[in-house]
């Protein structure tokens, strides 16, 4: 049959012919497995290098029913949290010989389902999902695919397969207890609108569980985080009389801080501002927020290791919760000026 013209890529047969051996010997030499004499292996590798022969991973994957590939699904890359987690994971996988295919869901479950299906089409050796809340059709799809799956960032005791993450409810409670110890009593929570982000909801529940006064939680429009923070703070001050505001993350908290000062509220005297996720940003500014540091890179590395262990048949803990750390705010004041 005549096919479309071959690419110029040398195949394993070209190398075998050039080296005067069979394709099996080339295959063995390329993979570094037993059964080839050192002399022949060297000769073959040299010829392969000269011809710029790169084995076809698709053919290998087909022959082996799955690929040396990890599929990773994240909400977005434009967020230090996911960039950090991804950084830890990718490095670990890369060194273990796995490539990574990535998709971003933009926090949309339908899109997650669609993209995960596309990831599965590559028959990856394993899959990484962000969070523990997914489209109802996702679980059966993964069950049928039958591949190891890591859920990360969120912790849940009963994951689909394995899970490495932080318990956002507990983290909210932890920072809330610290803040309550400072004397604050009337909390508000500013982040995603209720019901739109399970993570935000969990954190809000954790915060609320610590205080006697009900948690004030204004509805927000999704937008640039700085503006969300500022608008959220204004909404909170309009709707009630909070003396401390917990933000979904540090960026929103900085937006809130700006708005608080514009509104004439002294921070931390009149109003407490609390962030989340301890961004690097927070370490170089004159103002140091009270925030919660989350072990994101470590989470990526540990998650990847768990998954690799699972691929090697080692069964460890199904769910690993990671600790967070409350970072007290400070007033490392600095004379400003451009």
């Amino acid at each position: 049959m005549t096919r479309r013209p071959r690419t110029s890529t040398s195949g394993i047969y070209t190398v075998a012919a050039e080296a005067g051996v069979s394709v099996m010997t080339v295959s063995r030499a390329m993979r570094g497995v037993e059964g080839v004499s050192a002399k022949k292996r060297e000769a073959i590798l040299q010829i392969a290098r000269r011809l710029n022969y790169v084995p076809n991973s698709n053919a290998r994957a087909l022959s082996q029913t799955n690929a040396d590939l990890i599929g990773i699904s994240l909400p977005t890359l434009v967020n230090d949290v996911f960039a950090d987690i991804l950084d830890g994971m990718r490095g670990t996988f890369e060194r273990a010989g796995y490539s990574t295919v990535i998709d971003t869901t933009e926090y949309d479950e339908a899109r997650e389902l669609r993209w995960v299906s596309r990831l599965l089409s590559w028959r990856p050796a394993a899959l990484v999902l962000t969070g523990v809340h997914h489209h109802p059709d996702l679980k059966p799809m993964l069950r049928d695919a039958g591949i190891p799956t890591l859920e990360t960032w969120d912790f849940a005791p009963d994951p689909i397969d394995i899970c490495v993450g932080v318990d956002h409810r507990a983290a909210g409670a932890e920072v809330a207890a610290y803040v309550k110890g400072l004397g604050y009593r009337r909390p508000a929570f500013v982040g995603a609108s209720p019901g739109t982000d399970p993570r935000a909801d969990a954190r809000a529940v954790g915060v609320g569980s610590v205080f006697d006064t009900p948690l004030l939680r204004p509805v927000l429009t999704h937008d640039n985080p700085f503006r969300v923070g500022a608008a959220g703070l204004r909404a909170a001050l309009t709707e009630g009389e909070p003396d401390v505001i917990f933000f979904l993350n540090d960026l929103m908290a900085f937006g809130g801080l700006t708005a608080a000062e514009a509104a004439g509220r002294g921070v931390p005297g009149d109003l407490g501002i609390v962030g989340f996720n301890a961004l690097g940003l927070n370490t170089v500014l004159p103002v140091r927020l009270t925030t919660v540091s989350t072990p994101r890179r470590q989470m990526g590395v540990m998650g990847a290791r768990s998954l690799l262990a699972r691929l090697n048949g080692v069964r460890g803990a199904r769910a690993t919760p990671l600790a967070v750390e409350v970072q007290p705010g400070g007033t490392t004041r600095l004379q400003a000026g451009a």
Copy 2:
């Protein structure tokens, strides 16, 4: 021959048997190509959905000599610049039906060569590289692979294949001219040590070309950007008498700003501080740096579009330079406090 037990994944034959048609008809139905009656297509798609059948992209790639896959090589993901570029590219590719495989080189040419070779093993439809300086063995490897290649972030008039980026030399000259217009005369450049980062070198050359006084450029140790900035500023003040310091990026510039004030130099009176890359960071702080905004997301989108056009046989410009914009500093002062 007996192979290792089949995965539970339904193959195209399973679907065909279930639907009572041939595999070719299923193949056509799944791809949405002509030649299947509407009734049969519907029936097949429904069965496929019920069985959670996901086509095997590796088999398809093998059959077609290349995959619906774009390989992307970046220095790192923990840097807003590359996260932004990647964000623009990935979204565009994803919507066009391509998956993306990513590797990170950590600014190491040898590693780039190794990872690019791994990317090529997937027989991607196209490849994206960062920058225009590569390992000498890379070009022949790409030539033999014969796939469309986009170089991005840097601009060069004679790319390997196509190129969308900014001219860092020109950008350095542009901001330097602006700063000279403000009255500064004795420049220093703080970023990567000379010879370690072609981009930094290009920018430094651009800056130097504008001033009469030779550019002071201290040698640095690679580290956290804030500390590099602070240490670089101190080194510059020790080695000479600059009245303005250009930093490789905004993070370093903020580090420098902190160090300048610690050293008792007034900014911008005694010493000018200039950043690069206009990070979001810079829009919410009391201090607003003079910096250069680079169209990173747009670059990603445009680069991806150029590559997609090329894949569809459209030949546009080989090299597209993107304009940058100098952002004047300001003193949007804010009362600080935690």
